[in-house]
């Protein structure tokens, strides 16, 4: 009986986490259009609801009502599985993100590795979609995207090692707590920048959105998807953005910690700080989209392998050296 009760509690927690998250995803699309509009001196969506606030709901309904088309030459099972996988993977990463001391679904010892594992699985949704569609454009998009994601994962992993070395733990709560004096974006500033850029590539966002390059691939891996399949990919992409922003906040911006441990800042509760930080990164995502032109594929690969990889490797050596030399190794 106690076990069933525990199960109910867990399901309740998950719902508490997932429902606001999905709302957040919906309104992220709205925010993106509004911010882009503002940057391009337009107004963005304005017609549905006051200030267009109901636009995401209208979009969702529209996609939901459309016909689901499964191409006849496709591999049906994989074709249907792929968007679900993408979406689920974007959600399960949240299990280890701490919103405050103790405010975490699963406070596991290897939280960072768990996130790395989840993000490395993200590539499957795309590659399965591309292959199952049985379409050239989709397949090319999938190939591009998986090569890109695998490449940037390496530098992401190395950058995370820097944080781990400094914090001395793989547990995300401990990592946040160890930033109490100094957020890691200050000592690891170059890594912070590289990490954010790698995250852009990892989520296939601009300026690294080659997998869905409209001009050459007519939106790439999801070209054959319609209706809910497309919606799931879309939601998955945006949920992934939020997840990655949360990871950036936890690793470099002190998670739920306020910027200064003094009175006006400590009045605001931890989760709000985390959400503010996430919002900052999300804004940066959209900002990059509005500002930067798309990379060429060889430039993308060059950046990942020839610039980020050596740099982050060097930084690992430097971090380890400094920690050992000044006896700062965390116990």
């Amino acid at each position: 009986m106690a076990e069933i009760w525990a199960l109910v509690v867990i399901v309740f927690y998950i719902l508490v986490l997932v429902v606001p998250l999905l709302l957040g995803v919906a309104y992220l699309t709205y925010a993106e259009r509004k911010v882009l509009g503002a940057m391009q001196l337009r107004q963005g969506p304005m017609t549905v609801g006051p200030y267009g606030l109901l636009q995401p709901i209208a979009d969702g309904l529209k996609l939901f009502m459309k016909e689901t088309v499964v191409p006849s030459g496709s591999n049906k099972f994989v074709f249907v599985l792929a968007p679900m996988l993408t979406f689920i993977l974007a959600l399960i990463g949240w299990a280890v993100i701490p919103f405050g001391p103790g405010l975490v679904l699963a406070d596991i010892n290897v939280g960072v590795l768990y996130l790395l594992a989840v993000s490395s699985l993200g590539v499957y949704g795309i590659i399965m979609a591309g292959w199952a569609s049985n379409s050239r454009y989709a397949f090319l998009g999938a190939l591009r995207s998986s090569a890109q994601m695998v490449s940037y994962e390496i530098s992401i992993g190395l950058i995370i090692i820097n944080v781990l070395l400094t914090a001395g733990s793989l547990n995300l709560t401990t990592i946040v707590e160890s930033q109490r004096g100094l957020w890691y974006f200050i000592p690891h500033f170059p890594m912070f920048v590289i990490f954010f850029v790698s995250v852009l590539a990892e989520t296939n966002r601009h300026p690294f959105d080659l997998p869905e390059d409209e001009a050459t691939l007519v939106t790439g891996f999801n070209v054959e998807y319609s209706s809910m399949g497309f919606a799931l990919f879309f939601l998955g992409e945006y949920a992934n953005m939020i997840l990655m922003s949360a990871i950036c906040s936890v690793l470099f911006l002190g998670g739920w910690l306020p910027p200064f441990g003094i009175v006006p800042f400590t009045w605001i509760p931890g989760p709000i700080w985390l959400i503010l930080k996430i919002c900052f990164f999300l804004f940066a995502f959209i900002w990059a989209r509005a500002t930067l032109p798309r990379y060429r594929y060889d430039q993308l690969m060059r950046l990942g392998w020839k610039v980020f990889l050596p740099l982050s490797l060097f930084w690992v050596v430097l971090t380890a050296g400094v920690l050992v030399a000044f006896d700062l190794v965390p116990r």
Binding site: V110, L113, L116, S120, M128, W131, L143, S146
Partner: protein, 230 residues
């Protein structure tokens, strides 16, 4: 192990075994790789159940996240003709089955003798030699002792298994760790040696040169008279 864990174990083990079977049974190689990934995933779950969370995550990151992606890549691009591949299959079946049966019998013999040794010999004769790697150079067995060398003891509950692995990997297994590094280096050198072809005709982007270039080097301003051209 409580009931939930037991249930989880059976689910994971069942799915793991079933997908392992499907890896070799499925007709489509892409499906095989997908089943392989499922098997890895469930194996990672089993690792979590026994408390080896680090291994579980590394299994997912390395095998599922990197190795299997490359597998999938290759299999998807190869475009294998399945019918043709299956044609010659039956003629090798007898030989393959024979080898398989021999190996199976051997394993059973081995397993049988092991189980026998466990149950009877150990109980009857206290003379089984337990060999455990020492931290110090080989210790001389104590007189009449059952255990040749005594294991190093660790208070496991105080340390996470990530710390534990790190602590032995970079000390006791330092040599092997470095050796593995050397092997990987040779693998990289080999792959590049055998595949990299210098094509003199390709145009490479030299970003340093692009950045260094100044407007006056490439653009010339001329006064153009109307209707005259240059």
């Amino acid at each position: 192990m409580n009931a939930v864990q037991l249930l989880l174990f059976y689910i994971l083990a069942l799915v793991c075994t079933a997908s392992a079977v499907m890896v070799i049974a499925s007709r489509n190689p892409v499906h095989s790789v997908l089943y392989l990934i499922l098997a890895f995933f469930n194996a990672a779950g089993l690792f979590v159940l026994i408390g080896a969370e680090f291994l579980a995550m590394v299994l997912v990151v390395v095998y599922v996240g990197a190795v299997a992606v490359l597998f999938l890549f290759v299999v998807m691009m190869l475009d294998i003709n399945f019918v043709e591949m299956r044609e010659g299959f039956l003629q090798y079946l007898p030989v393959g089955a024979l080898v398989g049966i021999i190996l199976l019998v051997e394993l059973m013999l081995v397993g049988g003798s092991w189980a026998l040794a466990d149950r009877t010999e150990v109980a009857a004769a206290p003379a089984t030699v337990v060999m455990v790697e020492p931290a110090a150079p080989v210790a001389v067995p104590p007189e009449g002792g059952e255990t040749a060398v005594v294991a190093r003891r660790v208070r496991a509950e105080e340390v996470t298994n990530t710390q534990m692995l790190g602590a032995v990997l970079y000390t006791e297994y330092f040599y092997l760790f470095q050796a593995a590094g050397a092997i990987l280096l040779v693998a990289i050198v080999g792959a590049i040696t055998l595949t990299l072809r210098e094509r003199p005709a390709t145009k490479r982007q030299d970003i340093g040169r692009q950045v260094r270039r100044r407007p006056f080097e490439s653009v010339e301003l001329r006064k153009v008279k109307p209707r005259a051209g240059i």
